[in-house]
Amino acid sequence: MAARVDIGFWFPALALGVSFLKCLFINAYHSTDFEVHRNWLAITHSLPVSRWYHENTSEWTLDYPPLFAWFEFGLSHVAQHFDRNMLQVENLNYASPSTVLFQRLSVIFTDVVFIYAAKECCRCVQEQKGSRDVLNRPSFVLAVLLLWNFGLLIVDHIHFQYNGFLFGVLLLSVAKHLQSQHLQGALLFAILLNLKHIYLYVAPAYGIYLLRSYCFTQDNKDGSIRWMSFSPLRLLALGSIVVSVCALSFGPFIAMGQLPQVLSRLFPFKRGLCHAYWAPNIWALYNVLDKGLAVLGVRLKLLEEAELPRASMTGGLVQEFQHSVLLSVSPSATLVCTLLSILPAVASIWLRPCGARGFLRCLLLCALGSFMFGWHVHEKAVLIAILPLSILAVESREDARIFLVLTTTGHYSLFPLLFTPTALRKLHSGQGPLLRPLEVVYLLGLVVVAIACEVVFPLSPWQQRLPFLPLLATSVYCSVGVCYSFLRLYVRLLQRDDKPKQL
């Protein structure tokens, strides 16, 4: 295992700096998620527990697991000192200055978990030999990539969500695994699942890794599984941790017989294949292909225009819609695709485990695979892949290259291009340029697309007829980048299979 690394004074400086910056954005624009969380504060504070998952005065019903509800309950006790009125369920869209201040400050404060987790991750990073100045050390670069991640800053502190807190728990769990403290890591992950169930996507990675590398205490000489070394005690420990956390979280609701209601709130499948803003995943490409074929079919007189379904895919309300030429995609189809996509990764850590870093890679692929093929994916979900990839990116050059492409296209924006290349290039210097020419061309192309969408398009005559074109174009262009990163990460994983190293 990598030795613990000393963290200098620069870490608190970075953390304090970014926290100050977050305070400046208290009065910036916030999205409907602000009202969502205010509503949940109101529900958990004013109503008894039995009503939490039945309440639907507001359209933003409680759709996170119970532990998050308890978290909001705790927050609401602090909230009442800021402005009691925000805790009335009837006060829809209430946004007084004290409310805004409280909510924003709560995100900034709960980010302490994220800062602590980032510090633990920085400790686990392998340092290169030889003295370097602070700015060139992998731990420093990782701290910058994690703490100053612009995607997270924009989503949490402008758009408004509690992702910093949740990612903190995830990264802490990863750090614990990297430090070989598997039980703590498992506990943290169980807590995380009960805070936000979207992390179920990466549960296979955890499950298989812990089963293979923790429950089977020893391997054969060639790295294959040694069935005799199975330790039922360890399995029992893991199982009891998970069960007890879930019991603590769901217990009250099972006792009240509300489990089906809770589950139906947690997994709403009424929404459409794609969000109103298409996440850059496979389905964006699929939709475009379908639309393209439809247009082509009409032009070549193979299809009747009247037969094509009229529903718009990027209309404001997210509804079910049909594809016109290709097969329609149902939720179960996406589930199957997701499972198929993560199967090789999961299989590889079962057959040829590569220690904690192999687990991290598998986690990454599970997250990215579910982003690529999942149902109603938000573009924010790409952060689940990007943040753990930062850890790998500061250690290896290949990963840094993939990280750069993914972070730019995954965030839909060019912001990462301003900081990350310099930081990563300094780390992995001396081995030629960081990006391959094709990748450079692709990323420059993104600049062109951005200019075209923001500047050229609004002034062009197509603005009226095809208003969704910029979003579509950006989404499709970025999904190419995301798919590329996904494939490259897979190649990395499978390549390492040939030479299993104990990391």
């Binding site: 400086a13 304090l16 100050f20 305070c23 400046l24 009065n27 700015l135 310099t422 300094k426």
Partner: protein, 505 residues
């Protein structure tokens, strides 16, 4: 390569912080009928765009000078005209004559904030970058740290991007002037400073040091020959720049006279509102404004200002080096701020700029003064609803400048240039000066913090409604006066032998 990427990161950080501050409220937001400085700037865009040049400074039916009449020199008017031109393209309602009075909207706010940012990016920020990279000494890390602290100075950010003004333009031009003089390009430097003067007349606070430095240089170069030639070139440049800026107004002498009357209003009193200078602080003890007549107030302040600025100007005239020039800039602007007529609290920015130049050389004192200058504007920021940005930027500046510049470590007597103090105060027992200064710093920061919290959280007693602004301005005054004395002492003491003496030509 590496330095430039760090520089761009610093600039980016500076821009992000500025943008963050600009998301907050501005002066006079939602406060009819007069609103505030934001409305004044918008009104000037309206006036300069819709009315002919001859009417800009005159009281006509279309141009009511009582409602934010133009009171800055022509360059401000031209700048407003350019902004108005852009505004007209985006949304003509913003500069509609008469009808757009008090216009407020989120898009308009975005537009106005963008104009400030653009002006900063074009003028102020490049000057700061070039100054920190070429005219400061030390390792490149130290230069980058100085650059970051310079860009994060809260007073300017809060005034320009919060309250709403264009100080970045005039200070930027002045900084270009200083930069040019530091690199030995005297003629270009004088042209840049003339542009600064033509943007805001308050730059006159810096005029005396520029004059004495250049005059001293000319005398040193030989009163006959090269010196005289240089003097002629500088004078010609300055006259030409002024002529160019005032060209449209020179056709009619009454025009030029009216502009002068607008930019130097001598009809107002010794001071307005609560400002951290001598007269306002003295007023708490003796009611000067009621004792003396208007004219004698004017003469008194003129005399005191002249006396205060004399020593440092004279010293600069005899020793025209860049180091003395920077010190003289500080001393002159502080002297004017402390003793001059009709000083506004925002004028402290004119003293803050030269002190920022000294961040590299005297980090602790510079940081101390810059913190006090931001603190002195607290009542103004509270009135504008800029509490959170004030707290955040002040704390960030204090923390980061102390950390990056290791200010508290460089506190030895030598580094603080306090050798002269020991000579002056020889009758006092010898103390560890470094320790004393550090403790004074801590106490002062604590006092400022306590006063800030008290001003924000508590309600003043009914019979003393202005208690907190007065306390703030008096505390700030004590800091400024102490700094003034200190920098005068430093200017008169010998600079210690330094390896990079050659940089100071």
């Amino acid at each position: 390569m590496k330095t430039w990427s760090l520089v761009s990161i610093c600039v980016l950080l500076g821009v992000v912080v500025r943008w963050g501050v600009s998301l907050n409220s501005y002066s006079g937001a939602g406060k009819p009928p007069m609103f505030g400085d934001y409305e004044a700037q918008r009104h000037w865009q309206e006036v300069t765009y819709n009315l002919p040049l001859q009417e800009w400074y005159f009281n006509t039916t279309d141009n009511d000078l009582n409602y934010w009449g133009l009171d800055y020199p022509p360059l401000t008017a031209y700048h407003s005209w350019i902004c108005a031109y852009v505004a007209k393209i985006i949304n003509p309602d913003w500069v509609e004559l008469h009808k757009s009075r008090g216009y407020e909207s989120p898009t308009h706010k975005l537009f106005m904030r963008t104009t400030v940012l653009v002006a900063d990016l074009l003028i102020y920020i490049p000057a700061v970058v070039l100054y920190c990279l070429y005219l400061t000494d030390g390792s490149s890390k130290k230069k980058i740290s100085t650059l970051l602290c310079f860009l994060l100075y809260p007073g300017l950010i809060l005034t320009d991007y919060g309250h709403f003004q264009y100080n970045g333009v005039s200070l930027g031009f002045a900084l270009w002037g200083i930069l040019a003089l530091g690199l030995g390009w005297d003629v270009s430097g004088s042209m840049a400073f003339s542009l600064a003067l033509n943007y805001k007349q308050m730059e006159l606070y810096h005029a005396l040091p520029f004059f004495c430095y250049l005059m001293g240089k000319c005398i040193k170069a030989g009163p006959m020959g090269r010196g005289l030639f240089l003097l002629v070139r500088i004078a010609a440049t300055v006259l030409a720049t002024f002529a160019l800026c005032w060209l449209p107004f020179l056709s009619d002498p009454s025009q030029a006279l009216q502009v002068v009357r607008r930019i130097f209003p001598v009809a107002r009193g010794l001071f307005e509102d609560k400002v951290a200078n001598t007269w306002c602080s003295l007023n708490t003890l003796i009611k000067i404004r009621s004792i003396l007549s208007g004219d004698s107030q004017l003469y008194l302040s003129l005399a005191c200002t002249f006396l205060a600025v004399l020593p440092s100007s004279f010293r600069l005239l005899t020793k025209p080096t860049f180091w003395h020039f920077k010190l003289a800039l500080v001393n002159s602007s502080l002297a004017f701020f402390l003793f001059s007529y009709q000083v506004h609290e925002k004028s402290i920015l004119l003293a803050a700029l030269p002190v920022c130049l000294l961040l590299n050389d005297l980090p602790l004192i510079a940081i101390w003064f810059l913190q006090a200058s931001t603190f002195s504007m607290l009542p103004l920021f509270l009135k504008d609803g800029l509490l959170v940005p004030y707290v955040v930027t002040s704390l960030a500046f204090l923390f980061f400048s102390l950390y990056l510049l290791s200010a508290l470590d460089h506190c030895s007597e030598d580094e603080l240039r306090m050798g002269a103090y020991n000579k002056l105060l020889f009758f006092l027992p010898k103390m560890d000066l470094a320790c004393v200064v550090r403790w004074k710093f801590y106490i002062s920061v604590a006092v400022m913090a306590v006063l800030s919290i008290v001003s924000i959280a508590l309600v003043p007693p009914p019979h003393l409604p202005d208690l907190f602004p007065v306390l703030v301005s008096t505390t700030a005054f004590l800091h400024f006066f102490g700094t003034f004395v200190y920098f005068n002492v430093v200017q008169f003491s010998e600079p210690p032998s330094r390896k990079s003496q050659k940089k100071n030509n």
